[in-house]
């Protein structure tokens, strides 16, 4: 038998008060008028696109209508159940029962924490992988002190431990989580009932199962939008198993990475160089500068003096030219000096 946990016991006391307050405050029958209005809108829209024979739109609107019908069905089912005598005055669970729930919760989740100061009970899920896309773990936090926003919603949030966003949507961390709020879908009624009855293990487990399920018919963002990180070079999406540059460590797509022709090291296009002479691709470590023009070359295209062919030839030519320009002393024009009286001679200018 597990040892007594005083923190859990104190949390159970707080949660008992919290659940009593919620049971007293909320009317059991709640119907969201907007959901039913939306149902009418979608019904009319479906009729309209069917009339025009817009097949793609028909499919899309039918999916939306299906999801909305499920939402309304859930609300009606919940309302019907709430009207049965046994649920009018649900007895709030006692602290001892809540304590048992907390103990069971610790067995269900590897991480289960209570923060008495902040008034939170939280668990961390296992990594959520949907259709091979790893969204990481999520922390589900039930707060018995905070006033939930919007009013009437469940007082919990779902935070990504290592957020992984779809392209350009930083407030979405999961197809069904936006701004740390889970869109409960089919779980709405079940979650309300579990919390109302103080069945905390069920409450957290249901959220966990929703996080591990992908409803392709109605996500905030489709899983296809989670292609991973952006390519450092071109900005395209890169899957998690994309390559990393061995020099700048940036993740790059296949098009923007290559291998050094000399040492086979993988690097991004920004880090790779091209030999000015033979055009071979070379990494920063294999790239060498010409001692004269400072151009980048592979080691094969530099001579032992670390000069490229052009600079080497230039040196040779220069040398040759300077030899031509400075004739030997004996070939210098001579000024013949004759003895006076022997006539004149032209003086070279």
């Amino acid at each position: 038998m597990p040892s007594f946990d005083p923190v859990f016991w104190r949390a159970a006391g707080h949660l008992e008060q919290f659940l009593k307050t919620r049971a007293g405050d909320s009317h059991p029958v709640t119907l969201d008028r907007r959901s039913f209005q939306q149902l009418q809108v979608l019904t009319a829209r479906l009729a309209s696109v069917e009339q025009r024979d817009w097949q793609l739109s028909v499919q899309l609107v039918a999916q939306q209508l299906h999801a909305q019908l499920k939402t309304c069905e859930c609300q009606i089912t919940n309302a019907l159940e709430c009207l049965t005598p046994r649920n009018f005055s649900p007895a709030a669970p006692a602290a001892a029962e809540i304590y048992e729930e907390l103990s069971a919760l610790r067995d269900e989740f590897e991480v289960c924490e209570v923060n008495l100061r902040e008034g939170t009970l939280s668990v961390v899920t296992e990594s959520v992988v949907l259709e091979d896309i790893d969204l990481g773990s999520f922390r589900i936090i039930l707060n018995w002190k905070a006033v939930p926003e919007p009013a009437g919603s469940a007082p919990y949030k779902v935070e990504a431990v290592t957020p992984c966003h779809p392209d350009g949507q930083s407030d979405i961390t999961h197809p069904h989580v936006m701004r740390d709020r889970l869109c409960e879908g089919d779980a709405t009624c079940t979650l309300q009932q579990a919390l109302r009855a103080g069945r905390l293990t069920d409450f957290f487990q249901i959220i966990n199962q929703v996080l591990h399920t992908y409803n392709s018919g109605s996500p905030y963002a489709r899983l296809g939008e989670w292609d991973g990180s952006d390519c450092h070079a071109c900005g395209a999406s890169v899957s998690d198993d994309g390559s990393y540059c061995d020099f700048c460590q940036s993740q790059v797509c296949e098009d923007c990475s290559s291998f050094c022709s000399l040492c086979d090291t993988s690097a991004c296009q920004s880090c790779l160089k091209s030999c000015r002479n033979c055009d071979s691709v070379i990494c920063p470590e294999c790239a060498e500068e010409c001692g004269d023009c400072e151009g980048v070359f592979c080691s094969k295209c530099l001579n032992p003096n670390e000069l490229c062919k052009d600079c080497d030839h230039a040196d040779e030519s220069e040398e040759l030219e300077s030899n031509t320009d400075s004739p030997p002393e004996e070939s210098a024009p001579r000024v013949a000096v004759q003895s006076a009286g022997l006539g004149q001679i032209a003086v070279p200018t």
Partner: protein, 75 residues
């Protein structure tokens, strides 16, 4: 005998129900979950994972929680 049965599929209400003595977890599942596969559910008896052949006892608390529950997003 009476047990507390929690079906987290659908509305998720808890009910005190009567079952025959010697009923196993699997038998209860077949009776209560139409066309469901036990592999698609977390089955707990008294908050602990249970085997399919576990015989239920009076006062047991049994819960079936589906492993696939669809959330939503935009309507």
């Amino acid at each position: 005998m009476e047990i507390l049965f929690i079906n987290n599929n659908g509305a998720g209400f808890a009910d005190h129900i009567q079952i025959a003595d010697g009923t196993t977890v699997e038998q209860l599942f077949r009776k209560r979950v139409n066309q469901g596969d036990p592999a698609d559910y977390l089955i707990r008896v008294n908050r602990q994972p249970a085997s399919s052949d576990q015989v239920l006892q009076p006062g047991d608390r049994v819960s079936f929680t589906p492993t696939k529950i669809e959330g939503a997003g935009r309507a």
